[in-house]
Symmetry: C2
Subunit: 238 residues, 2 copies
């Protein structure tokens, strides 16, 4: 399980000329195990998105004791990436393909001013929000739907049907904590759901648009794509 | 009231050749009010120490509406400093001399691994800690005492008597949240109290040392000075 602060990275996935979480961890693993590795992450989080419980797998011929790996890796990793635990998996395990569910959290600060301490950890939104309406609206995403209208343009997924098992909004002081639990999420889907909920909550979009957005699959019926810094990959379930 | 993330600053106080909170805010105020100002802070927090509720005052001949100041200041401040509110005070008000009480919070992560997301917001301590013993020990600081033994060497205070009205330790998941409320605190005093409590909690220092530390006033009887990133100036009372 991996925790990271996504602020300083161009996302999970390895890129040319830009720091990525994947590359940072691969380089450290390679030093420890002594050969090249490919680290397969369960979720390819975007630039600025955080993880509390990302998972990833790699193949190795090394016989380093598995329990010693976290300490070895963490001693060489930058301190915005922490490996929480490691375990041995079957040879054919694939962190992404075999994930059965994912939990994501999104945090909105709904206040007069942003927070200096949490500026890279939440989306600051100063508009008054109708929270009971948003709590009603979020339930429209729950269930098995074709979420074609809720994927960013660059999405490569052919099958756009996903199941959201649960989704809810809790108010904690000046924060809205939005939790999604589903079998999978399309590219930018959580951020588009949140942006759409915010636009409904501030009265910019009628709640009916959510049903249309799902039934017609037209991205234009939805709201903004909420910014990355409020998003956390909380847990991957197998 | 001012919130700031102290990570990127060499503390509150203006310095030659090093960024400070005071200088950053003074420069912005000067642009808004059109003349030089001296910003007097209630607490001169160290490098890396945070504030949720710092207070500060300045004198101005400007007639800018007081309610408009936070937005004007925040629009020009770096996003790790946020002015939460402003108010007019009597001409002879002094944010530091007139403070009647201060609340400080210190956060320790007591876990196997540090947190990537909170790395600059808490003190990571992996030693097993005897929390009930620490909860007993912290009460020894409460009351009016000469805290000479709990001030850093560079302290300039002549009168080292302070009163701690309340102090407590709460366990919240993997975190210890330590709250101090007193009429004032010497230089590094909160960090020395916390470091001493940690050394007591991990069995490195007998609890009796705390009473001796206070009665004999010898810094050497105390524990480490806990690192700055776990410390928050929460509130200043007048």
């Amino acid at each position: 399980m991996i925790e990271y602060d996504g602020t300083g990275y161009h996302g999970w996935q390895r890129q040319q000329n830009a720091p990525s979480i994947q590359q940072s961890i691969e380089e450290v693993i390679e030093k420890v195990v002594g050969h090249q590795v490919e680290l397969i992450g369960a979720g390819r989080t975007d630039a600025g998105v955080h993880a509390l419980g990302q998972t990833a797998n790699f193949h190795t011929s090394s016989n380093i004791v598995i329990d010693k790996m976290p300490l070895a890796f963490n001693s060489m990793l930058p301190d915005d990436i922490v490996i929480k635990n490691t375990e041995t998996v079957p040879e054919d395990f694939h962190a992404r393909y075999q994930a059965k569910g994912k939990r994501y959290r999104y945090i909105i600060r709904n206040a007069k001013f942003p927070s200096a301490l949490m500026r890279n950890r939440e989306y600051f939104c100063h508009y008054p929000l109708d929270i009971p309406l948003m709590q009603k609206a979020i339930k429209l995403f729950v269930g098995m739907h074709d979420f074609k209208g809720l994927a960013a343009a660059g999405s490569s997924a052919k099958d756009t049907v996903r199941t959201i098992y649960d989704a809810q909004i809790k108010q904690e002081g000046e924060n809205l904590v939005i939790d999604f639990y589903g079998n999978g999420f399309l590219y930018n889907m959580v951020r588009i759901m949140v942006g759409t909920l915010v636009d409904v909550g501030r009265g910019k979009l009628p709640i009916e648009n959510i049903e249309k957005l799902i039934s017609e699959g037209d991205r234009k019926l939805g709201g903004i794509t909420a910014p990355p810094q409020g998003l956390y990959l909380v847990e991957v379930l197998y």
